[in-house]
Symmetry: C2
Subunit: 218 residues, 2 copies
DNA sequence: ATTAAAATTTAAGTATCCTTAAATTTATAT
DNA sequence: ATATAAATTTAAGGATACTTAAATTTTAAT
């Protein structure tokens, strides 16, 4: 276990790399809510510790060592999320913040024990994959951003972004959860909103909301 | 939630006060494994934050505010210990270190939820009382240090000190756990060791070992 | 190709929590 | 009562991880 700050940088960079986003000082600063200057400082440290490849003004990349370590942190985070959701009974809009702290305070033994207890889950409560002990990642089903789904098409909710608790809570309130079938009934170019059917309810959601929901089409 | 360091100082001071030990720079330094100088530094900060009463060279005392806060931390620690032991299945020699980290990383909501799940336990896996939300402490049964129990007397194990994992692990291995009946068969003045009966086994334990075990006599 | 905007880094400084070494105060032994 | 030992505090300094402001480099626009 290194320090919390290092762990947070690494898992943020890891998640960016996973989603094919070029890793830059700027994005890290926004994600971690700190100044660009602080990020530059830390990048030098991470680099000199062999955790990232870094050249001034260039993109950032995890080394093998950095990626392995980051996977451990993301693994801890997502296993905690499942545990908090399934065993402790916290709703999906409460698990992220809690897991974000706990991820830095738990031994590998504890995480392994919890994982076993949960029968080796592959995905967290928001549909994100849980890295295995060896760093390998369960293959994600292909998914389509709900905002890109065409009128008349339908599919099942397979993943949602977990950054915003209010968003997640709202999804719960409209009955949207992983596995739910969603049909796009109409789309309004005027405000990019969508009319969708969930269960037997029809509901209008904004384009921004839709863009944080991912669908397994057909 | 304040910072981890503050929380560790407060809970250490709290535990010393609970066991009627005069709180001094020295003891805190030993318990937290840091220099006396660092403790003096921090005592000034705690004092200026209204968490302790402190005058140079004098004994230290928690204020109401400090005691309330400390009780929250000790509560978190012990609820985690029970949870890890009962729900996760960790042995009693593994729960303390884990809980010592988790105690600084969990919201009150999570702790309350876990407490409810455990049906409001009063004592942790080592027999220490769990402070309630209002800071009140379950009354301890009177107990006698095993090293003070006389030949022929018997009673049930009601509490053990939880500082040393090797000690706790050894107790497990000789079948000693909370609630077990122990009879003192013999005492050797030569080395202060005791011959005790646990279940149907007789075993010789050192005085030092005995002095970390507490018995509910009769 | 120039220029303006955006991103990034450097510089200087702060807060926290440690360290060791030296000075001071308190406690203990005779 | 005095000397010695033990405990405590002060002093000076280090590592980490931030901050804002200024300087530099890259990118994007015309
Ligand atoms: Mn999360
Ligand atoms: Mn984190
Ligand atoms: Mn404990
Ligand atoms: Mn602690």
């Amino acid at each position: 276990m290194k320090n919390i700050s290092t762990e947070n940088y690494l898992s943020e960079i890891y998640k960016l790399e996973q989603s094919k986003i070029k890793v830059k000082t700027n994005i890290i600063a926004k994600k971690l809510d700190i100044s660009n200057a602080a990020v530059t400082d830390m990048l030098k440290k991470l680099s000199s510790n062999g955790l990232i490849l870094y050249e001034r003004y260039k993109n950032i990349q995890l080394t093998k060592k950095g990626k392995d370590y980051a996977a451990v942190i993301v693994r801890r985070h997502r296993i905690w999320e499942i545990f908090l959701n399934q065993i402790v009974g916290l709703p999906w809009d409460k698990v992220h913040d809690e897991a974000h702290r706990l991820e830095h305070s738990s031994s590998d033994e504890l995480i392994d024990r919890i994982e076993e207890m949960l029968n080796y889950p592959e995905f967290d409560p928001h549909g994100d994959p849980i890295p295995a002990k060896d760093g390998s990642i369960p293959k994600l089903k292909e998914s389509t951003n709900l905002s890109k789904v065409k009128i008349g098409e339908w599919g099942k909710v397979i993943r949602v972004n977990d950054y915003d608790n209010e968003f997640l809570n709202y999804l719960s309130r409209i009955g949207l959860k992983l596995g739910k079938k969603i049909t796009v009934k109409d789309k309004l170019n005027f405000d990019n909103s969508l009319l969708i059917k969930i269960g037997d309810k029809q509901i209008n959601i904004s384009g921004k909301l839709a863009s944080n929901i991912f669908i397994d089409l057909n």
